[in-house]
């Protein structure tokens, strides 16, 4: 099953009119991918193209309408690609196959939401708690730094992060941050982000924060985690992955 992380992208270029038995070759390739349960595949038609014969193929002019190019593309796990490649190699008698390393950043499946009434399960274990202290006015490419940090942690599948706004504080920069005064609303309060996850995930989170934090403090401590989670297909995948590695 395809999940976030390293994967392979396979692109196959064939002619629209190349045949495999009675059906078009692109259809045969597509059906094979469907039958072998590849994670997904799409067939697209480039607007114009040329191949090894250096003749232009385009639907624009009648003279060049023959041998229109077709592109079949799919992304799957390295194992799945390895399994499919020999068959594809055999099948594509006229055309080109290329494989590239890629990274799956996000797979979201809207229709597979967890049941809202499912009972939560309690998970306990040791974990790490990271607290990041920074200023509210700190920026990251124009947006508030705390927002950018939370976004990046989320992208890396870190279990959770919470942002707290302080009413008073001082730290790395030496000046006092004070907010919520009756007569002026300060926009440079101290901010604390707390993040809890496994030791390995927190290590990854530290690396992310390291690349983004200019002035600030990161403190990490060991905690006992008691987690209430709803069983969902997505979580099982994550759990299985963390159990494997």
């Amino acid at each position: 099953m395809l999940s976030k992380g390293p994967a392979k992208r396979v692109t196959i270029f064939v002619n629209e009119d190349t045949r495999h038995g009675t059906e078009p070759l692109w259809r045969a390739v597509f059906d094979l991918l469907m039958h072998k349960r590849a994670a997904g595949a799409s067939v697209t038609r480039p607007w114009i193209g040329f191949g090894s014969h250096h003749r232009i193929h385009s639907p624009e002019m009648e003279a060049t309408m023959e041998h229109l190019p077709v592109r079949i593309e799919f992304v799957d796990t390295p194992e799945k690609v390895e399994e499919l490649l020999p068959t594809l190699y055999d099948l594509v008698t006229d055309g080109m196959i290329d494989v590239q390393d890629t990274t799956v950043v996000k797979i979201a499946q809207k229709e597979k939401k967890p049941e809202p009434k499912a009972h939560h399960i309690q998970k306990t274990g040791t974990a790490r708690l990271m607290r990041i202290f920074l200023g509210e006015a700190d920026k990251w490419h124009g947006e508030p730094l705390y927002e950018a940090i939370v976004k990046n942690l989320r992208m890396e599948d870190i279990a959770g992060a919470t942002v707290y706004k302080a009413i008073l504080g001082y730290g790395a920069k030496g000046h006092t941050h004070k907010g919520q005064s009756l007569f002026h609303l300060s926009h440079d309060c101290s901010i604390m982000i707390s993040v809890i996850d496994s030791a390995a995930k927190i290590q990854r989170a530290v690396e992310i924060v390291d690349g983004m934090l200019q002035d600030g403090l990161v403190v990490i401590s060991d905690v006992d985690m008691i987690r209430f989670a709803h069983p969902s297909p997505l979580m099982e995948v994550t759990d299985a992955r963390s159990a494997n590695g």
Partner: protein
């Protein structure tokens, strides 16, 4: 990446209406921390809570008495000096200390802004 040092995190739980020498206790604590050159202190206001006196602290139209949390991070030796001082200042309240690994980020030097 800055190297991690071991240190302590001290969390002081007080109430918003606690006062010390005529000013809010949390302000007095932060001032004291600065005076003693403690690395940093941050004050958070809770939304609701209860403590020793089992009195619920909740935001009220005219009477504000919300829980206050002061988070202080520094080395163990600095904490050992600070705790007796805070002990003097605190009437009721709670202090909890735990071990932490500290990473300090300080990349903006004054010369870069000059």
């Amino acid at each position: 990446m800055p190297e991690a040092q071991t240190g302590k995190i001290l969390r002081v739980h007080v109430s918003e209406h606690d006062h010390y020498n005529g000013k809010p206790l949390y302000e007095a604590i932060v001032e004291k921390c600065r005076e003693m050159k403690i690395a940093g202190a941050t004050v958070f206001k809770g939304m609701e809570g209860y403590g020793e006196t089992a009195e619920i602290h909740r935001s009220h139209l005219i009477r504000h008495d919300l829980p206050i949390l002061i988070t202080i991070v520094d080395s163990e030796s600095q904490m050992r000096k600070l705790i007796p001082v805070l002990d003097e200042m605190l009437d009721t309240g709670l202090m909890a200390m735990s071990d932490v690994e500290i990473m300090r980020f300080q990349r903006t030097s004054p010369s870069r802004h000059a």
